[in-house]
């Protein structure tokens, strides 16, 4: 993903809508912290800058029937195809989204998902079900004796999935050992450190000299598994979420929901939502619908919001019943279908994660969480520098006290300190300016 100019710079021509269901690297001029919502392509562009020369030469290539790329799988329509448009004069840059789409599809997408929760809640089964892979094929389960001395680890599995020409590099970060010990104090520290590490690495890469191929390992989404056997959130759940809610997008998931009757599911969801509010936990919020969206989409959106936490069931075992095969869990008293919306929220979760909100998750990570981290980091750095200077100043002051009469020392150090601080500010502003200039040079 390209890092394009930040807030405050309306880079002309960069304002364009995002594609529906299609992650791409396009920019937006929103201030950090607000997530943009994807809109269908039928919106027309607001032309700000006309890059005539560039576009007209590529205009002919950009019809959807371009020879290099067959008709896009999403049935993208040529904005210039309707009859009334045939005889008007157009510059032709309404096909810009197509170009971006093609470029990004060639590059492929990356997504990092973290799963956290006690062991035995069906995390690996769910991950396998969500992405129809078998990431945990050769997993060896430790028995309790071995696990007594286990600490929380972080394991990463990467898999490349390709569907209809689009490549996704999916990384699953697992946290085995979380919450399993008798004493679980600060067991989330490892997780927090990992997330910070990824941010730090990205920060360094971004501030480095060669920024062409930055690998984005930041965690885009964390699925936190809540046990259905409790009465809502446990103290550990609350602590974990409070520590991590401003570092990563947390999506709470109610695991093994087939052990609950529909009534119980409803009650426990209400309880969990209420507790999340009570403890001020900022879970991932879905971006608001625009007011002119379809009613149907708005309805879906409402439903989605109301189903947090998602009550899921996972299974990779196929069961045959009434002539069709589907993934399910078979009990003596009935069969639970994984993809039946009345049995579980699995479909909703999958659609949200993969089909509608994947890009938004990445954007919020990039704009909000990462920016917070970065601001914090820079602040800490400048504080450290100022403190260093002050300390060396004081030292110098003390040294010179032996030479000069006492009343002179404070005056000197005060003004000198002011001078140093001004210097510091100037330096900072210069850095920012330099970076902006560089981006403008390399940008677009």
């Amino acid at each position: 993903m390209r890092d394009l100019p930040r807030a405050g710079h309306t880079f002309p021509g960069s304002e364009m809508p995002m594609m529906d269901r299609e992650p791409d690297g396009s920019t937006h001029t929103h201030t950090p912290g607000t997530a943009t919502f994807t809109r269908p392509l039928s919106r027309s562009l607001e032309p700000e800058l006309v890059r005539r020369g560039q576009l007209s030469s590529m205009g002919s290539l950009d019809s959807p029937m371009s020879p290099s790329r067959p008709k896009s799988p999403w049935g993208r329509f040529d904005p210039y195809d309707s009859a009334e448009d045939q005889d008007k004069e157009y510059v032709g840059f309404a096909t810009l989204p197509n170009q971006v789409h093609r470029k990004s599809v060639k590059k492929g997408f990356a997504f990092t998902l973290m799963v956290a929760g006690e062991s035995g809640l069906g995390k690996s089964t769910l991950v396998n079900s969500l992405f129809l892979t078998d990431l945990y094929k050769d997993r060896k389960m430790l028995n309790a004796e071995e696990r007594i001395s286990q600490t929380v680890e972080i394991t990463k599995h990467t898999v490349s999935i390709e569907e209809k020409g689009v490549k996704l590099r999916l990384t699953i970060v697992d946290t085995p050992g979380f919450g399993d010990a008798v004493n679980n104090t600060e067991c989330w520290r490892t997780v927090e450190d990992y997330i910070d590490q990824q941010f730090e690495q990205y920060f360094r890469d971004e501030s480095g000299l060669n920024r062409k191929n930055i690998q984005d390992n930041r965690v885009h989404c964390c699925l936190y598994f809540i046990s259905p056997f409790g009465h809502g959130l446990r103290p550990m759940d609350v602590e974990f979420m409070k520590t991590l809610h401003d570092k990563v997008n947390i999506v709470p998931v109610l695991a093994k929901a087939d052990s609950l009757t529909p009534e119980e599911v409803r009650k426990i969801k209400m309880k969990i939502c209420e507790e999340i509010e009570r403890f001020d936990i900022n879970i991932y919020q879905f971006p608001e619908c625009d007011s002119d969206e379809d009613e149907e989409i708005k309805l879906q959106h409402q439903e989605l919001k109301g189903s947090i936490p998602f009550a899921v069931i996972g299974s990779n075992v196929q069961v045959e019943s009434q002539g069709r095969r589907f993934r399910a869990r078979q009990y003596p008293w009935g069969v639970v279908e994984v993809e039946n919306p009345e049995h579980s929220d699995f479909l909703k979760l999958r659609n949200m994660l993969v089909r509608t909100h994947m890009q938004d998750l990445k954007d919020v990570t990039r704009e909000t969480h990462y920016e917070n981290y970065r601001a914090q980091c820079i602040q800490n750095m400048t504080h450290m520098v100022v403190r260093e200077r002050k300390r060396s100043l004081c030292n110098r002051g003390r040294d010179s006290a032996s030479d000069l009469p006492v009343p002179l020392v404070p005056v000197d150090s005060d003004t000198e300190r002011l001078i140093w601080e001004k210097d510091e500010e100037l330096r900072r502003m210069q850095e920012v300016l330099e970076r902006i200039q560089e981006q403008m040079r390399h940008g677009h």
Partner: protein
Amino acid sequence: MSEIVPPEVRPKPVVPAKPSHVAPPSGAPFLPSPQGTGGEGRGSALLGYIGIDTIIEQMRKKTMKTGFDFNIMVVGQSGLGKSTLVNTLFKSQVSRRSASWSRDDKIPKTVEIKSVSHVIEEGGVKMKLTVVDTPGFGDQINNDNCWAPISKYINEQYEKFLKEEVNIARKKRIPDTRVHCCLYFISPTGHSLRQLDIEFMKNLSRVVNIIPVIAKSDTLTLEEKIEFKQKVRKELEVCGIECYPQKEFDEDTEDKSDNDKIRETMPFAVVGSDKEYQVNGKRVLGRKTAWGVVEVENPNHCEFSLLRDFMIRSHLQDLKEVTHNIQYETYRARRLNDNGGLHPINSSGHDTQESNL
């Protein structure tokens, strides 16, 4: 049969509800035959019918008059269905909370011990049932030593009984508050026992009879259930944890074979419910989900009926006996040895801190 068994004689427990398929020992004349009907027990050396076996009838009458005590403790993380299971076991609202969902669910900061007593009557027999609940167990972030309050409580009950026993003027019937049975609820993760489970059972299996059960087992399919149980049994064996019925207390082959059968199916995978639904024209206790009704008393669905039969219908008296004759005696011996005398000691002293035996 009163629960105070004179320590010199330990007759084979007379349980009126012993399953009738058990073959009676061949004609041992001095042991009462387990057959419920009086009259047909035959000693090979007797020439006529004396009527020794009517002692069963007499004991039964006595029991019915005096009634008996039974104390059960439930231990497990909150939300595993402990209260519901106890209610289902005894078919009445005997647990600390009534089985409504909207109850005050604040997790206490330390483990508390709350006990509730009820008197249940069935078939003319009165039972004073005490259910001891342990809210807060395993719910904190740091659960180190969360079994210490439980261990302390159990030892305190032994201490109470001991004090009564060494009194000069003893009561005719010492009130028995000792915990006869501890149901430990295992969370149905499907993988293996949690560390907390192992620590708890290691510390307490020599102090009280522990019966492990797999809670909320409608979350496991049949294969998962079998696999999980095997894993649990193996782990218990590896850690040297002996749950009730302990192998070392099997008296004879008959006991052994009975208990072996039980041990093969432990831990019981149970489901509790106090709601009734209509299934195939019958009203059954169960849980109704969108894909079917889990019947609590259907042995194909869960092992609740096995647990109930085991605990109540066949081994209730044995539980009490083992508690009295073995667990309590061990405690008593240790206490008397420690002090070299029988002087009552203040109960808040050092001895209640011992949790390992």
